[in-house]
Symmetry: D2
Subunit: 338 residues, 4 copies
Amino acid sequence: MIISTKKGTPQVELDRIVDNFEKMGLSVTIIRGTDYNVFGLVGDTTKIAEKDVLANPWVENVTRVSAPYKRANRLFHPQDTVIDVRGIKIGGNNPIVVMAGPCSIEGEEHTLKLARAVKEGGATFLRGGAYKPRTSPYSFQGLGTEGILDMVKARTETGMPIVSELMDEVHIPEFEAYVDIVQIGARNMQNFQLLKAVGKMHKPVLLKRGLANTIEEWIMSAEYIMAGGNEQAILCERGIRTFETATRNTLDLSAIPVVKEKTHLPIIIDPSHATGNFKYVETMALAAVAAGADGLEVEVHDNPQCAWSDGAQCLKPDKFAEMMEKCRKVAAAVGREM
Amino acid sequence: MIISTKKGTPQVELDRIVDNFEKMGLSVTIIRGTDYNVFGLVGDTTKIAEKDVLANPWVENVTRVSAPYKRANRLFHPQDTVIDVRGIKIGGNNPIVVMAGPCSIEGEEHTLKLARAVKEGGATFLRGGAYKPRTSPYSFQGLGTEGILDMVKARTETGMPIVSELMDEVHIPEFEAYVDIVQIGARNMQNFQLLKAVGKMHKPVLLKRGLANTIEEWIMSAEYIMAGGNEQAILCERGIRTFETATRNTLDLSAIPVVKEKTHLPIIIDPSHATGNFKYVETMALAAVAAGADGLEVEVHDNPQCAWSDGAQCLKPDKFAEMMEKCRKVAAAVGREM
Amino acid sequence: MIISTKKGTPQVELDRIVDNFEKMGLSVTIIRGTDYNVFGLVGDTTKIAEKDVLANPWVENVTRVSAPYKRANRLFHPQDTVIDVRGIKIGGNNPIVVMAGPCSIEGEEHTLKLARAVKEGGATFLRGGAYKPRTSPYSFQGLGTEGILDMVKARTETGMPIVSELMDEVHIPEFEAYVDIVQIGARNMQNFQLLKAVGKMHKPVLLKRGLANTIEEWIMSAEYIMAGGNEQAILCERGIRTFETATRNTLDLSAIPVVKEKTHLPIIIDPSHATGNFKYVETMALAAVAAGADGLEVEVHDNPQCAWSDGAQCLKPDKFAEMMEKCRKVAAAVGREM
Amino acid sequence: MIISTKKGTPQVELDRIVDNFEKMGLSVTIIRGTDYNVFGLVGDTTKIAEKDVLANPWVENVTRVSAPYKRANRLFHPQDTVIDVRGIKIGGNNPIVVMAGPCSIEGEEHTLKLARAVKEGGATFLRGGAYKPRTSPYSFQGLGTEGILDMVKARTETGMPIVSELMDEVHIPEFEAYVDIVQIGARNMQNFQLLKAVGKMHKPVLLKRGLANTIEEWIMSAEYIMAGGNEQAILCERGIRTFETATRNTLDLSAIPVVKEKTHLPIIIDPSHATGNFKYVETMALAAVAAGADGLEVEVHDNPQCAWSDGAQCLKPDKFAEMMEKCRKVAAAVGREM
């Protein structure tokens, strides 16, 4: 960590700063400039918050040199994390996984029908929402436990593990019992209570990136989960908020190489929520595969116009199968199976 | 709600759209253009989500004419909501309230000392964090119940009602018993589970605006609380994320006239979190008063360099008293008491 | 265009609105709602600015149904525009073009050396900056005419057409004489004077997207060029400004399918400026090809550490050749030559 | 400037870095850490671009400690710059100036009528656009020279100096001859050619902040003007682009204390373009005065519904006079004349 102080900072204040950090076990070097003095701190600075250092009115500027995360940091864990879900491996150089299914679960029969369809198209996981985060209190809020049980039946029949969103720690026992991958939604990426709670779970967590969050903040949220003891964090990019309105959000595919450089965690791409428009999903899925994604999460519905939520971004099963066909070719071109 | 369909949409699809909406009890008018057809829906459209309508591939565009909120809407509730907290009134043309205190509660004595200091400076409420949302799992997470009880003691002595942040519904009984205004933090603005839970509380809720949320989304989150039965929602603007780095966030003071036009709820301004820098707090507090804020929330600490969190944005008690003095003059200039 | 008026708008005001638009040759339909009245305008609305309509205090809301652009609009020009530059075709289903070279031109010999290197790697155009937009007045501002002439020599030797940025209409005669594709930089995307001026040129214009501009605004800037008579507009996505700091900008690859849907113009992707980091360039180039880009613009330098500008994002010639090799495989996988 | 290098950087590369900077006349200190080495550069670093240093693949991170601007820097010029325009002083503790008038000039008589009206309301300058930057090539582009001459006549009659936007260096002689303050629009804030050109003018330049630019970038654009020899730069905040749609842009009033801390230049606030809505202009003008603005720029029109551009944000003359009345009270409350 590098700290610069203002012109004219009295020696006694400089000494106090050095003292403070040395007491924390850090070693401190000073560079004296004409207009500024600069301190370099060497040691474990993950416990120091930049803004707390800025509380000193003599401090001008604070820069973190090493990343504020440890468990997620590739520097201390060079090999890729591979997560095994009922025998399917996610991450490393394993085949690209595909989580597909409806936005909202809409009943047993419908879930089964879609599960079969996406499996036939090549999906490896069934995704579906039983608890739905909706911006309006007047919108459909999900089938709840009933929806989870519908997915369990589909798993029994198709063998595909299931992915569903957790919104409330109250439902952790239910998810621990039934769900294979616990999804944390973009709007809960910094719901630190929920992160702590899933950090104590024994299931992999698919952590969606917040709509206006940096990659570092996202990794820090993964660090919360890992610090609780659950090392099975998977990152999921689903588009960030920008000024663009032609797409619902802007899919940040450069997050793939950045995440792979900074961390050892797998990264999944969700082109459905990112674009919000079925017309753009296939194109972005192809791009994600070319860019090295470890998996895709795609919404599929047999009758999007009547979907209980987010129909505009759903592919029909035949279009999904077509997309998969094309993705496999791109995967092969970049030396990856799918 | 206005819906436009693509060029060449078959008549049977147009008929189906009309049918669907008429079944929902809406009346539908069509405008036929050369390149587009446009449908106007008249009736209660708050239950319809724009993106669900877009699921129809023949639909080009959806525009909401009336706001998606009802309880918070000034159109249906023209008079200002005034919230009474132990005799102090917030909103309407009542005197501007000031919530002041440390970012984190740091023990009984310290809390008492600061409570006396801010009261002397003119504060009407004591604010303090006992449960702290921190981006790093390695940072101090708050004193918890102990911190709440420290605030209760300070209330007993000074008479000032207390404001504190709730992060988890598990603590609702504690907040219901001890806290006067329940704060929901910016990062939880779209934690819909928590919004539903505080919607059942009997205490006023101070809802902070999310860092990258629009005013409409913010009002929709207030609507969640109100739809649960708790009409005592107070909005708090605390800066939004922009590309600017000289301030931590960008304080959006134009939210004041917009909120007052669209809703009947009180609006409070937090210049401390918005700027992240004690040097800019007074200036922005003055601007907020001039712009018609119903209150301020300001962080105060006797020794900011040693504050357990966010010291960089804390005013010392004497600076707080100075700020209050200047604010009272500006309040008088715009015809408001403080 | 759809216009909604406020509750309680007097009949005389409604009549006046209808009158105004009818005088402009538009036909007007009214939908009467409980809380609002809505007007639908049918006819050519490209001349009407939304914000001018909002000047009427009785107007609540204005929505544009048809796009505000005509010449660039795919609706009126369904087939792809293909631009021929010295026999190389850009757009349509033609082979993907690659514009490569240094950020700044650094002298005759160096330019020749790099031109040969990128040609060998598979580039079809030589790019290089002779006039440089720099945020600091104290930074190197480009070699000017000398740099343009260096590129001309490299074209003579290698046969590759040249692409260079124009910053000032004063240099139009020089560019008309020597340069094959005239680049307009991101910071000049809404320099309307310059757009009008290149609209009178006889050379193709590569229009970079502004850092915080929507796709619609970008297309409107292309419309400026086309309205001047120069139909040879090429769009270039080079990253937009977001809160992310791990990359210089965020490459918006979803712009590719959106641009191809809304317009008939070719679209080129610049992964170098978007990421600002040589480590991420190849990955994003592969993704761009998978997503259907008509071309790439890539910065290449033999000694990036000593480049006169933007070395951090330059590939060395051997890495460029490797990238091209991989791109060709992805292109083949999506049915395109390169 | 602080530079950190990666773990495992070879000694020969570290030596090369030190060498390079020492040759530029800088003195270099090294701090050796476990995972990183850090270099501190002392001396004039304004000529070094951060991204050029990042071109070295061994470099991890670059931080600028001192600001990249000199002439605009308060550190080297502690007293406020005061600009004298025909006897009216802008900046320092001088009375707050008010630039008012129509968005577009609409002919001689209309200009005179509005000039008289705003003068009566208390304006000190007449603003008006003769050359208009419009997003659509099909919109009205301004009266040009005729509009400038209409303003000159209004100045002759009322004595108010005139402010108008320059879009093209071709018109510099005209502006040098007739206009008192040369405005550079937000979209041209990084049109470096134009900045260089006005840097050679002898008239004060009102530099609007770009829609998505940081305060530092804005000051760097002022530095361009000052580096050319024209020290009369005035900064004008007019709203930045955010996700909010209830206002056209978000007025960043915290720019006032930041600009006053970092530079010695005057700062003017334009609440009309920022909000885009006449209903919010007065409130934001009051807030700007409370926050210490050196002036306001406000659009006024006698018949906003028929204004040739931007009518939605225009105040009528009587509302303008009311606003001025209220602003004077707030100015007095913060110890400033108006």
